[in-house]
């Protein structure tokens, strides 16, 4: 009982956006509310069955434009001007009834975090078929059959029974594919993919990416693919539009954008991650030695870490790489004493560290500092930058008053923030600036080792590059060692001296950067290295054809 849909006349594009302008009312503390322009003068057209990639850094307006195709604005966002013609009508001015029909029937949405976008209280099948059923597009039996078919196309395990599970019962990568099934189930004309693989491990991302690409091809649906990763978007799109600060920078076919970009900004995006770092040789006396570390949490029956033995040399960087759940962060917890190991020792600077944090002398605490992935939750929002950086100076060195303030300013200069930042609050800083303040706070203790836990993962590529360069610079000057935890191979190539590849709680491969990154590889390292998206056409197909194993997340 599928309902006929008014199709636009042959030859006109499915989606035709002209002069789109999007505004929001901004409420900043201490200032009267003001209107800000989020997106200005953006125009593009999308034909049936074509995929347009929207790319840019955070704040570029990608998601906002994507949601505009559903005539939806998050929070106080208004679609202020321009035309959004979809199937021959301007949906910007549509009434509530037409909007309900538009959403879920003509256009559907795949969110970045499927884990958050699925209702935890309802079964996957109910949620996948819901839009199809409320719009009366199919009978319940047809909808379920279609869902199962889509589960199969998306290579989900046990497609017949997959839908009976609850969202918490499946993995992140599977849920992301289920979200794609949810978007495709009502046979929409257009799907908005909003960073659908950003929250996934590279090894999982590649499977989801392939599944999405395959599903787009099989259903012939048109798509807007939003991401900050140019290498990813190059694999699935026909055309790419580069955005910056809500305006279009460049728009063209994929090949032209990645091989012959016209604008400087696009070139910067394409050439990201080209930091040259000369690998340092191991010294005879390592700064830190982990020897046979085995650890588990609370009452668990299995070990999270098994027999981890690695060395870190003064002034050098050891990178711990692996997918989520491989135990990378747990190693950091053992070193800092947050999780006393069941077996094994941590030797640091010639002495053995106590297993538990509470027994450590203050001097040991000072020597090992941490920087976290989420800079904004690692700082007290009600303290100024001066207080945040000044705290370790008071705590470890007893500095107060003018002396402390002078040292704070020195540290701010060191992280390239300069004058005027000391009195700001974290909320007044950008993501990159926040992470810099966290770096300054760690440096304030004058440590020998800084543990960096995914410090660039939440940042835009260009900003992340700035942070990495800063870290390398500081290492040269201060001779501080880094334990760098990351899932991003590109980051590892940029800064590591030695590498430990972790897989299911064990060190899979360990050595200097050159040793680890030189073939022959073991299967897992091969998968990890091959899964890093490369900026060339056909990369996805090549990898899928040649890799030796699949991700553990499947």
């Amino acid at each position: 009982m599928s309902r006929s849909r008014d199709k636009a006349p042959e030859g006109t594009p499915l989606l035709d956006v002209q002069g789109l302008r999007i505004e929001a009312t901004i409420y900043e503390p201490g200032e009267p509310p003001r209107d800000a322009v989020i997106v200005d003068d953006v125009s593009f057209t999308l034909a049936r069955g074509k995929v347009l990639g929207l790319i840019g850094e955070s704040g570029a307006g990608k998601s906002t434009i994507g949601l505009a195709a559903l005539a939806y604005g998050r929070g106080g966002i208004r679609l202020a001007g321009g035309r959004i013609m979809l199937n021959g009508r301007d949906i910007r001015t549509s009434g509530p009834r037409d909007l309900r029909r538009l959403r879920g029937e003509e256009v559907t949405y795949v969110a970045q975090s499927a884990a958050a976008a699925f209702n935890p209280a309802r079964r996957i099948m109910d949620q996948v078929t819901e839009a199809t059923l409320i719009h009366g597009l199919m009978s319940e039996r047809e909808a379920k059959a279609r869902a199962v078919e889509l589960f199969r196309v998306l290579k989900l395990p046990d497609p017949e029974t997959f839908g009976r599970r609850y969202p918490h019962q499946v993995s992140g990568g599977q849920l992301q594919r289920a979200m794609t099934a949810m978007a495709l189930c009502p046979k929409p004309d257009l799907v908005i993919f909003d960073e659908p693989t950003t929250a996934l491990d590279v090894t999982t991302q590649i499977d989801v990416l392939a599944a999405i690409k395959n599903a787009i091809r099989e259903t012939g649906v048109a798509a807007l693919y939003i991401t900050h990763d140019l290498a990813v978007v190059a694999q699935v799109s026909d055309e790419i539009m580069v955005l910056r600060n809500g305006r279009m920078v460049e728009h063209g076919p994929v090949q032209q954008i990645i091989e012959a970009p016209r604008e400087d900004y696009t070139r910067a995006l394409v050439s990201v991650r080209q930091i040259d770092h000369e690998e340092a040789k191991p010294s005879p006396q390592p700064l830190m030695v982990l020897d046979g570390i085995t650890a588990r949490y609370g009452s668990m029956n299995t070990d999270v870490l098994t027999d981890i033995s690695v060395e870190l040399h003064a002034g050098q960087t050891l990178a711990l790489v692996g997918e989520s759940g491989s135990g990378k962060s747990t190693v950091a917890r053992v070193i800092t004493g947050l999780l006393p190991p069941r077996a094994g020792t941590v030797r640091f600077d010639g002495r053995e560290l106590t297993p538990a944090l509470k027994d450590r002398p203050r001097e040991d605490l000072r020597q090992i500092q941490m920087i976290y992935q989420m800079a904004d939750v690692a700082m007290n929002p009600r303290q100024t930058v001066r207080t945040i950086i000044g705290r370790p100076l008071e705590f470890y060195f007893g500095l107060r008053g003018r002396k402390r303030d002078e040292r704070v300013q020195e540290l701010l200069d060191a992280i390239e923030l300069g004058k005027g930042f000391a009195d700001r609050y974290p909320a007044e800083l950008s993501g990159g600036q926040k992470q810099r303040v966290c770096i300054a706070r760690a440096l304030a203790a004058d440590p020998k080792l800084i543990i960096c836990d995914e410090v660039t993962s939440a940042l835009d590529p260009l900003v992340a590059d700035g942070i990495l360069k800063l870290l390398l610079d500081l290492q040269k000057r201060e001779q501080v060692a880094y334990l760098f935890i990351t899932h991003d191979i590109a980051t590892v190539r940029a800064i590591a001296d030695s590498i430990a590849v972790m897989y299911q709680g064990r060190v899979q491969r360990y050595g200097t950067k050159t040793e680890v990154l030189t073939p022959p590889f073991d299967d897992y390292t091969d998968l990890l290295l091959a899964s890093v998206p490369e900026m060339k056409l056909g990369w996805l197909e090549d990898v899928l054809a040649t890799r030796k194993m699949e991700s553990a997340g499947n």
């Binding site: 959403r103 879920g104 559907t108 976008a117 699925f118 209702n119 935890p120 819901e130 719009h135 918490h168």
Partner: protein, 318 residues
């Protein structure tokens, strides 16, 4: 064993333990109150010998521990002893009145709970618009008025002025269900107004809390109607806090209706308790205390169990 069964058994065992502790508290509490029951019964003028005889006759000369276990054991079998003041069997007297109180509470709950949740949903649907403000305003006004005043106002309007319902809610065993409903209409109305605001505000707050979630946006982008969306996607995730407040209010309907029962001269537990407290009848106070505690603990147990059962992560482990 299924992990959820373990959790449920734990909660139930904990509740029983709590009830036992409360029974000790009640017994000890009445034990340390000054005054001797035998002397209270016989009056100031009784001779020492007469008091001593009565104490022995009532078993009050035995150690407190023995008496506690005897009392508890009998209470578990539904025997609360006899009222000291009038020598009538407490269980019989309470049985009738507890039934009346439960009836009134059930009628009030049957209206109040669905109404509160529906109003909560409406308030979310029209958040910060006039229906939301109107609902909040009326329910908050109702909860701000002392309930006896509310009782008299409603009695004046509906019984005296309009004459729709009786002002005295006397019911007895011979009445049909319909007649009983008619008799308790006014006290039930007052109780509904009293408990409505709390439950409605909690429903509104709990659902609004969930409305910020990403999955609500997903549902909105599927083109669901707002009310369908709230009911299907927001409600199931806000049941736990709502059910907690509902249960607290149900408990209040049973144990907190003393004033309303007095206002409407309703033959329930509240009236009975007030009468016997005035006469310092320790045996009745103990019995009522134990029953009220059991109701409170039982309803909170139900809230706990529902919270556990509605959590899909517990119901369907990985």
């Amino acid at each position: 064993m299924h992990p959820i069964a373990v959790l449920l058994v734990q909660r139930i065992a904990l509740s029983l333990l709590l009830l036992l502790a409360v029974s000790v508290l009640i017994f000890v509490g009445t034990e340390i109150l000054p005054g001797d029951v035998a002397r209270v019964i016989l009056g100031q003028g009784a001779t020492e010998q007469a008091v001593e005889n009565l104490r022995r006759e009532m078993g009050l000369d035995r150690p407190a521990i023995t008496r506690y276990f005897e009392w508890l054991f009998n209470a578990l079998q539904g025997d609360f002893g006899v009222a000291l003041s009038n020598r009538r069997d407490i269980a019989t007297a309470i049985g009738q009145r507890l039934g009346n109180t439960m009836f009134l509470a059930s009628v009030a709950a049957a209206f109040a709970v669905p109404l509160a949740i529906f109003l909560g949903l409406l308030a979310v649907r029209y958040q910060n618009r006039w229906p939301d403000r109107l609902i909040s305003g009326i329910t908050l006004t109702a909860i701000s008025l002392p309930e006896f005043l509310l009782g008299y106002i409603i009695m004046f309007v509906f019984a005296v002025q309009l004459g729709w319902f009786p002002s005295v809610s006397s019911i007895h065993g011979g009445m049909s269900f319909g007649q009983k409903l008619y008799a308790v209409a006014l006290p039930a109305m007052v109780l509904t107004l009293v408990v409505l605001a709390h439950m409605m505000r909690m429903t509104r707050a709990a659902i609004l809390n969930v409305m910020q979630s990403a999955y609500i946006e997903t549902a909105e982008l599927k083109g669901l109607r707002k009310l369908t969306l709230i009911f299907r996607h927001a409600m199931p995730n806000s049941i736990a806090p709502i059910i907690n407040v509902v249960m607290l209010n149900l408990a209040y309907l049973v144990v907190g209706v003393v004033v309303i029962e007095v206002v409407f001269v309703y033959p329930g537990m509240g009236q009975y308790l007030v009468d016997h407290v005035a006469r310092r009848d320790v045996a009745v106070v103990q019995a009522c205390g134990l029953i009220f505690a059991a109701v409170y603990i039982g309803l909170n147990l139900v809230a706990d169990l529902v919270s556990i059962l509605t959590n899909p992560r517990l119901r369907h482990p990985k």
